[in-house]
Chain length 338, copies 2
Amino acid sequence: MNTLFLRALSGEVIERTPLWIMRQAGRYLPEYRAVREKVDFLTLCQTPDLAAEVTLQPLRRFNLDAAILFSDIMTPLLSAGVQLEFNPGPVVQAPLRSINDVEKLRVLEPDEIAPFVNSTIKILRRELKVPLIGFAGAPLTLAAYLVQGKGSKDFSVLRSFLYQEPQAAHLLFDKLAVLTARYLQAQIDAGAQAVQLFDSWAGILSEEMYRKFALPAVQKIFANLAVPRIYFAQDAAHLWPAIKSIDVEGYGIDWRTSLNEARNIFGNQKTLQGNLDPAILKANKHVIRHHADNILQTMQKTSHIFNLGHGIEPDAPVEHVSYLVECVHEISKQIRQG
Amino acid sequence: MNTLFLRALSGEVIERTPLWIMRQAGRYLPEYRAVREKVDFLTLCQTPDLAAEVTLQPLRRFNLDAAILFSDIMTPLLSAGVQLEFNPGPVVQAPLRSINDVEKLRVLEPDEIAPFVNSTIKILRRELKVPLIGFAGAPLTLAAYLVQGKGSKDFSVLRSFLYQEPQAAHLLFDKLAVLTARYLQAQIDAGAQAVQLFDSWAGILSEEMYRKFALPAVQKIFANLAVPRIYFAQDAAHLWPAIKSIDVEGYGIDWRTSLNEARNIFGNQKTLQGNLDPAILKANKHVIRHHADNILQTMQKTSHIFNLGHGIEPDAPVEHVSYLVECVHEISKQIRQG
């Protein structure tokens, strides 16, 4: 068992920087596209054998140090009674816009929330030689889709809802916090060895609004989970002073923001994860090596997990991913064993 | 002539906080929609009588302290040989992806760049009792559309281009800087009394990439303009240490980011402009007053121009805009004359 990823999260001094890639099971892989030709996205998420298969695909190609459950942040909401499509992003049939809408949202027991995920995790734990990361969407990011109804540049309908209906909004964040905490606990019970909470849309709020609605819900979710925890808030440098108060082992850092600055704010005790710009994978190998090297030189021997600064893009060349993995292995060994 | 806006930009102690609204001539106004029923967006921009008419519309309804030329950041690119549609955002027929594409971009003399804009400005100066703001898009934001081809969540094609084709990218930014400097100078020569440079997509870059490509171009544009200058970079708190080096009188601050923090970084000598969340205009009057008051209390008697933190939205109720204007007048007088 390769435990480098877990040891990095526990703050141990490690001999090489562990590496995984957000959305590593995905459309850039021909073997993934082959599976998707046969089943739609939601069926794939809900069919444990297939979800386990695509989770394992990138591990067969690349020397990665962690696997992440193949699923979607929106799938636990199916159990809560939300009607969803993917086109290709999530589209909510009846967006929540009032306290009545929010009251109808069901918060089930842990084993009733997306039970297919627990089966997928059990299959994966039998197969995997690296740690398995469970994950969920943070309440703000789930609320963004639930209220707006679909993806948006700046989720203005959600923001209006927070200003105009604070009571409904608080109820929504409370329910999503309970749902998400139970969902992650179920993943841990099934075998997930770490969890990552994705707050892809954190950046749309001011610090004041983030502290009022999003932050307490994130804190509740992380309060009672007994595995290493990573919080990934995207485009959120203006929220770091607030995010700093979240009790986690690791922070995901997106490509826009600076690992140096993150180190200054979050301190040496925390593990930082990131942050190669996914767009770099579409440049040439010289550029890839240069930027991977930059990141590893910046992080030196501090607690760091190498990753992209956002999910890998569907048109990233597979051979560039291989090359990135080689570079990270080689350079980080030089730095950490030098 | 109401010179409050210009006096605020010159750092004078003023008796009331001046106020204008980004995209104040726009779809939330029924009289604007009436004009748009007759002509398409590009025709409207290119027809001086009509562009002047819609520029004046919000001034007839609200007690605003500045007018802003009605146009689009992409219109000067028409003179550069770029084929454009609006659908509703800009769509570039042949996106620029190579050095050959960039070499074809024409940089004309000042009076050849969007000459219709100069005629619009001359009409406006005869009619207006408040200062007229000229504007342009910053090179990064123009490049975002030129390379990506259309709006995007994170302009990944542009980012790949910057990594993969730095020489072509530098040539593009140089050309856009010259074009934009000439275009703004022409607006000033025609009568614009201040200029604002919109860098709506600044936030997609890391500080390193911003310093390499975007910042030098912005600095070149502002170097020789003899009217007060405002730079509005959106979602750019992580870039403020770089942006601080730009020589302007005012900085636009978007709704996500903190006026307090901006004051700390940019200092007391600069005028800050912003930053009410446009989504607040869709909440009730109590919420609008509360947040307008918060901003004015934060800024106290320091150099400040009230504005939204981004363009007003098409579904903002007109009566809420009136109410906001009243609140800003009343509260800022109390603070500044108290």
